[in-house]
Amino acid sequence: MNPKTSLVFALTLTALLASACHSPADSTTDTAADPAVANPSADPGAGLTVSDAWIREAPPAMQAMGGFVTLHNPADQDIHCDSVSGTAFARAEFHRSVHEDGMSRMLPVEELVVPAHGTLALQPGGYHIMLYGWSQPLAAGDRTTLTISCGDQQVSAEFTVRSALQ
């Protein structure tokens, strides 16, 4: 018996068991099974829609805010989103928080993939929009528009600022 193979197998099984015990923060789901879809009657030719768009209020001294949104793709093809911007911010980027090897990491994300007939949820602890350089302080209750670019289509949505004390 090859001990290396055996070890790899045991580790794989452990990882599978461990992942079965976790509830991942970011998820892609089947639209048909998701009651939170913004526009369930969208026809197959329709474009990307969004729901639950919000920005977490920045505590004092913080120089970056997190934006969160759920993207819905009613089309037959995956939609690839590669940039995001807002007039209230100097810069906005897609990022992903991950926990691996006991470490919290924030990884830059080149593009988000919203699966055909599915959703992609950006939420705390997973995919998020990192917002820098706001022109005016934003407090809970304020609203600001962000535009997400996905190839030849763009979707703009009003994001509501929510308190970080939740």
Binding site: M1, T5, S6, F9, A10, T12, L13, T14, L17, H22, S23, R56, A58, P59, P60, A61, M62, Q63, A64, M65, G66, R91, E93, H95, S97, H99, G102, M103, S104, R105, M106, P108, P124, G125, H128, M130, L131, A164, L165, Q166
Partner: protein
């Protein structure tokens, strides 16, 4: 054909060995966990609390924070940095709920935010940041190389990662919370995903007089 059969047999043996290894590990973890810490839900309790060497940090009021500062009460230490837009506010928001539910027990446990980004996190910034979440929260850090030495003693790892633009950077850091006992020794670690109920339960149990 014989080869395929041999492979299938080998795979079956590997599956069995792997499964036994994993189950043995899980049973051992459950058994030793129970023996050491009663019914702890989220934490890993050290069988022998680990002592720290003396150190000096600077707290959020600009005053020295030393090993002596940790004595006489429990300390729940969370490593992070104020520039962090997602994980740190999520964790501090979670800890705010933990403290709200701890009730009187919260008086015996000081939440210490250890900034791993002394280059950007001044005492004033740290104070404004943590007190937004709970006025009882405390913070400290120190310049390198002392920070690295203190973090290493605590079992906290961190590394600076260049960002998308020049001069911009982010920090990867340990996700675990560290619980220190009133002697200033490491008593337990809590690893994510953090659950408010489990943490409240464990902290109450571990810090009970």
């Amino acid at each position: 054909m014989a080869n395929a059969q041999a492979n299938a047999k080998r795979n079956a043996i590997l599956f069995l060995v792997g499964t036994i290894a994993v189950l043995a590990g899980l049973l051992l973890a459950m058994f030793t966990g129970e023996k050491q810490a009663g019914a702890i839900r989220a934490g890993t309790v050290l069988k022998h609390p680990r002592a720290l060497q003396p150190f000096t940090l600077t707290d959020m009021n600009g005053a020295p924070y030393t090993l002596e500062s940790m004595k006489g009460h429990w300390t729940l230490l969370f490593p992070g940095f104020t520039f962090c837009p997602d994980v740190c506010p999520t964790t501090l928001g979670m800890l705010r709920q933990v403290y709200a539910q701890l009730g009187d027990s919260a008086d015996d446990v000081q939440m210490l935010f250890l900034s791993v980004d002394p280059q950007r996190d001044t005492p004033e910034k740290m104070r404004q940041y943590v007190q937004y979440f709970d006025p009882r929260f405390f913070a400290a850090t120190t310049a390198e190389p002392e920070l690295q030495r203190v973090a290493q003693m605590l079992g906290v790892a961190y590394v600076k990662v260049p960002g998308s633009q020049d001069g911009n950077y982010t920090m990867d850091h340990s996700a675990a919370l560290v619980l220190l006992n009133p002697q200033g020794q490491i008593a337990a670690y809590f690893t994510p995903p953090h659950q408010v109920d489990a943490l409240v339960h464990d902290l109450k149990q571990l810090t009970a007089p």
